[in-house]
Symmetry: C2
């Protein structure tokens, strides 16, 4: 069976990525490109989701500044971590990774809130 | 105007979080709880999305092991970073954050691929 033709135009968003695969057999290349296409779709969703999340936390930051509330809220964070660890278990994601991911995002949010406060 | 009643049951997934807000005015509490509810919804979406992404990269890891391909692929990563930075700009997310987020996720993937290879 002949492998499906691979898209090769790299110049635009949404274009399919087979970079680094030039020397592989066609069937291996095709399989890996299919995986990458799906990963790229999920990553686009992740970016749009994060864009919305940071719009919300930007508003929260301004709200906290206006009402003189502290940027960080350890009690809230503990609830978030526990909840996301449970969701991770249910969806078969490593709960430790879920916790580190949330920590990574929250650290950025707190950094932004501190910046809003100083502005 | 009387503030809307706040949900107070913390024990289950999906329950609304007003922890740390006990001493606030009702209207401030209500506004902050509304923000948190939306953030919690986006975070649940993020976890499910990541669960699917890691299912895919798990398969890619096994595929790479079976075909003796290296766990990391710098050329692919450069394409991913450039694409996500552009998507971040389009959706008004900080491109530097988008790049650091992808790096964070890819590092976990590479770590998992190395583990698959040793198993």
């Amino acid at each position: 069976m002949r492998a499906a033709a691979l898209p090769v135009n790299y110049g635009r968003i949404g274009v399919r990525d087979n970079s680094g695969l030039e020397d592989m057999q066609d069937d291996i290349k095709t399989a890996l490109t299919a995986f990458r296409n799906s990963i790229d779709n999920l990553d686009a969703a992740m970016i749009y989701l994060m864009a919305e999340r940071f719009k919300l936390t930007q508003k929260v930051g301004e709200f906290k500044r206006d009402h003189d509330l502290p940027p960080a809220d350890p009690a809230r964070e503990q609830k978030q971590i526990a909840r996301l660890r449970t969701l991770a278990q249910q969806s078969h994601l490593d709960p430790d990774f879920a916790e580190r991911l949330l920590r990574f995002v929250i650290d950025e949010v707190i950094h932004n809130h501190q910046r809003i406060r100083k502005a």
